[in-house]
């Protein structure tokens, strides 16, 4: 059972719908016991970094999720702000991130792109994989739906995919049991289905 963490943030139903579509068992939950018994953790997140962290910290789920991710090495996927929260901090706000991985979240540098480029970066974007990109195996010409103004800056060895918006930026990461995508697999048709299927099958 994949636990889609409900901490009052994000569009959880879309993720649940896609797991249903690919035949993976998942549930939207804020129940400590359900999470403790889950085989996978899905950490969503939409909106402001600080708002997401505050909601997460207030959810009472931090201890059980930390134990699952860090001690039990349960496969965990963060999506969008859920992906950003895996790191130490964000330029968007003052709250500390979960700091499960070293790195920070930074804003798009508009001085490095043509003035016609609008922020947020929104739409379908080709991605380029690197390292051992476990979740991207068997995805041909991968493209995903993105909507964000911030992205993760971290060591190359964590990076599994980059995309280009004015310049190359990190759009997916992986470290042992922890995965993150800046884009929205749950809104990315067959590309997202393949990625989430791979995660569900880990």
């Amino acid at each position: 059972m994949i636990a889609i963490i409900n901490y009052n943030v994000g569009n959880l139903l879309s993720i649940h719908n896609m797991f249903k579509k690919i035949g993976a068992e998942s549930c939207i939950t804020n129940d400590v016991e359900v999470i403790a018994n889950a085989s996978k953790i899905l950490l969503p997140g939409v909106g402001h970094f600080d708002y997401c962290m505050q909601q997460f910290n207030a959810s009472g789920l931090k201890t059980v999720i930390h134990k699952k991710v860090i001690n039990e090495k349960t496969p965990t996927l963060g999506i969008c702000v859920g992906h950003q929260m895996l790191f130490e901090k964000s330029e968007e706000g003052l709250e500390k991130g979960l700091a499960w991985l070293p790195g920070e979240v930074v804003k798009f540098d508009t001085t490095q792109m043509p003035s016609s480029y609008k922020i947020p970066h929104m739409g379908w974007t080709d991605i380029f994989t690197q390292n051992k990109a476990t979740l991207f195996e068997n995805i041909e010409k991968p493209r995903f739906y993105m909507v964000h103004s911030y992205y993760v800056k971290c060591a190359e060895e964590l990076v599994t995919a980059k995309a280009k918006y004015g310049y190359m930026f990190v759009t997916a990461i992986e470290k042992d049991n922890i995965f993150g995508t800046q884009f929205h697999p749950e809104k990315s048709h067959s590309f997202g289905m393949k990625l989430l299927k791979k995660f569900a099958d880990l």
Binding site: L13, K118, K187
Partner: protein
Amino acid sequence: MLRHRIIPCLLLKNGGLVKTYKFKNPKYVGDPINAIRIFNDKEVDELMVLDITATNAKQEPNYHLIEQFAGECFMPLSYGGGITSVEHAHRLFSIGVEKICLQTAALENPSLISQISSRFGSQSVLVSIDIKKNWLGKRQLYSATREKILSTNILDFIKIAIDSGAGEIVLNSVDHDGVMEGMDIELIQQISGAISVPLIALGGVGKLNDIKLAVNAGASAVAVGAFFVFHGPHRAVLITYPQYKELEILLNS
């Protein structure tokens, strides 16, 4: 690279799918769930559903129906029609809608834009405006619910909407709606050059090249109604969407 989004725009009337001509004569084109399934199978970039009767009938969004739509959409879904409060928006987000589209409510009460965007993020709030030429041929804001041309300056209103937190502007042209003879390129150029958020151009696409012209004029996305639901001179209903490769060639060349 980032491709410009091509977005089928579906109109709802009493739970059925319709297509209008210059905002009039809604013609029934079929069952919305069926159409959405087909668009999903064709892997469209995004989907927009606008209920054209909810506001006038003073009805809230048809949540039950929209939840079914969202269950079929493995791409972003935006919905407009009958949204007058933060609660309505919240309920739509919770049943799987990514973006809500405000029009009448935004005109009457721009603070609703900021109330929704500050809580759910500006990426989730579209503000749509309809433009119609007056008898002198001057483009003006148009209220579809009141069937009346408004005196508010177009750019002034758009600036208020963006300052209030609108993440994208949907720009529709009443005179081009359903006509399928090209978009109002001059209008798209004028508005896209003046705003900092993405512009979704709507109204008038009758061939693929019309999309390209709108993109060249500065539209971040092009929404398409009649061209994706009608086929041939007699407007037989046939749901279509260009192949990814076709769009790549069209928009990158």
